[in-house]
Amino acid sequence: MIWENITLAASSLKTNKTRALLTMLGIIIGIASVIAIVSIGNALESSVSTDLAALGTANITIAVQEREKENATGRLRPPTGVIITGKTPTSSDLITETMISDFKARFADVIQGISISYSGGSATARDMELYANVSILGINKDYATANTITLLSGRIISQQDIDGFVNVAVVSDKLVENMFPLGTDTVGKTIKIYKPNSIDIYTIIGVYEYAQDGPFASTASDRDMQTVMYIPVSTAKKDVLEKNFTSFTVVANADEDITQLTDSFQSYFDGVYAGNRDWKASASNLTLILDTVTSTLNTITLAVAVIAAISLIVGGIGVMNIMLVSVTERTREIGIRKALGAKTFHIQLQFLIEAVIVTVIGGIIGIVLGLALGVLASLILGVAASASIPMIFLSFLFSMAIGLFFGLYPASKAAKLDPIEALRYE
């Protein structure tokens, strides 16, 4: 019965192909936009997640932060790890080497490493007319575990380098291009680093690949861009009096629950800083940021998809309009069918199925088109296309529901026709 109605509806649509296609157009555009928007949204989300994950979602940062005064009102709590008041912590408020090693001993079973970095400021490498801008970053040996550094040749900073306060550096391939245009093997070569009030000579021990979309990406031209030069943290701090740290990053073991660990680190440092009235150490992780970004993106995607879905309603009204025209045109046919014994539900079913076929075919075309648009947009945006299977399924059901909903009125109008009147209709 249903199948016969489907073939019947299909044949009646075939006799009016152009009209059927135009009717479908609204549904096609609606479904295609919903699918395209959702896949682009998904693609962006996964791209953002990957970018953030590259920054290290397994990392927990411990940073010295000013305590909120108990009666302070009207002031938003600053994000963890950021010092926003004019006050500067004194050396005794900062994190000491001893505190780090105690902490490391306490949590030895859950942490993979502790990454410490110290900014040595901007400088320029010069050799005659050749130059390259660098920002100096003193790191410890665990820094490479917490951060993605892709070595092209040589090695990363070792504990011996740190213990020996030696002038060694890991530089970017961009620096190599600028300083060694002949492209010789640069590991073992020395470079002169000009700082505002000193000139140091560093031996290159490693070359890493500059990441165009990485966290330290530069917007300047290749010639003038500033890239990071990694040196031992001890060397970077050689000339400064302050030997303590404002923050450090913990790399947790892969299977640890980061949120839970963050909490236990927090309570550990709450204990350490219990005696300090102005300062505390806060533990934070990137998953918090990741969650916020993801949920924001999801909300935006949903909002835009809902707007696109409204166009589906408009498409549905188009279907209803054409179905009403079709009912009028086929009044006589309805009269004949009723005279031959068609009941109300037979006629209703016939027109409903016709409406559903239009919207479902429109839906399928829309899904294909939407996926294609999603892929195209992803290519343009440079993110990986990501179609959502439940979304496709949902769109299919939704287009069917539109057919049912907007076909119902024309169908019942057809079914209610008086057979005598309908047979007389010219």
């Binding site: 046919e333 004949i336 069918r337 005279a339 014994g341 068609a342 047979l423």
Partner: protein, 236 residues
């Protein structure tokens, strides 16, 4: 077997004005009869046909078709009666344009819920009965008027109805084709033993039936047996 008892049909145009189209119609048509209902236009014969065909309900009176009183049925019940007990043949053929001859004949059986295979078999048999076996897959617009009417007659026979109701079946056909269609009705009456009610304003046509019921101003003014002439016609 069909019985009308005291049938009135009135249309209310506005409160004081009502149009009485049928006035106290009482009529019994026996199984296997071939009856003509004649009358000028406006005599109420179309309204009577609608009531006999269960397309319409009388305002007053009793109508029993095959032992079932159908005057007060719902629309869907009337549909079922039309489907199982009435076969319509219209002046304008009324084939469904988008489907071929075979599917048109299958339509009443489709609504009765007969399985596809059985439907097809019977539709083929009926089309060959009316001499349309070579044009079963033709679309209605590929058929001549006479051919369309033959398909319509085959369709009217589909569910073995109690009555075949033919409303001016030759009205849109030329004399020769009209005669051919009329002969087909005679054949169906003779061979299939069907009750046939022919509604016409054409006296010549009426004279080919067994009984002539004359309608004027909504009343039956004549009901004569034409059996002698009918027998003569049948033996020719």
């Amino acid at each position: 077997m069909l019985e009308l008892r005291g049938i009135f049909k009135r249309y209310f145009i506005s409160e004081p004005n009502e149009l009485e189209v049928l006035r106290n119609i009482s009529l019994i048509i026996k199984k296997g009869e071939f009856v003509a209902i004649v009358g000028q236009s406006g005599s109420g014969k179309s309204t009577l046909m609608n009531i006999i065909g269960a397309l319409d309900r009388p305002t007053e009176g009793l109508y029993i078709l095959d032992g079932t009183p159908i005057a007060e049925m719902t629309d869907n019940e009337l549909s079922e009666i039309r489907n199982k007990k009435v076969g319509f043949v219209f002046q304008t053929f009324n084939l469904v344009a988008k489907i071929n001859a075979l599917s048109n004949v299958e339509l009443p059986m489709f609504y009765k819920g007969i399985p596809k295979r059985e439907r097809r078999e019977r539709a083929k048999y009926l089309l060959s009965l009316v001499g349309m076996q070579d044009r079963m897959t033709h679309m209605p617009n590929e058929l001549s008027g006479g051919q369309k009417q033959r398909v319509a007659i085959a369709r009217a026979l589909a569910n073995e109805p109690s009555i075949i109701l033919a409303d001016e079946p030759t009205g849109n056909l030329d004399t020769e084709t009209g005669k051919m269609v009329m002969d087909l009705f005679m054949k169906i009456h003779r061979e299939e033993k069907r009750t046939i009610v022919l509604i016409t304003h054409n006296d010549e046509l009426a004279k080919k039936t067994q009984r002539i019921v004359t309608l004027r101003d909504g009343r039956i003014v004549g009901d004569e047996s034409n059996i002698a002439a009918f027998e003569r016609g049948a033996t020719v």
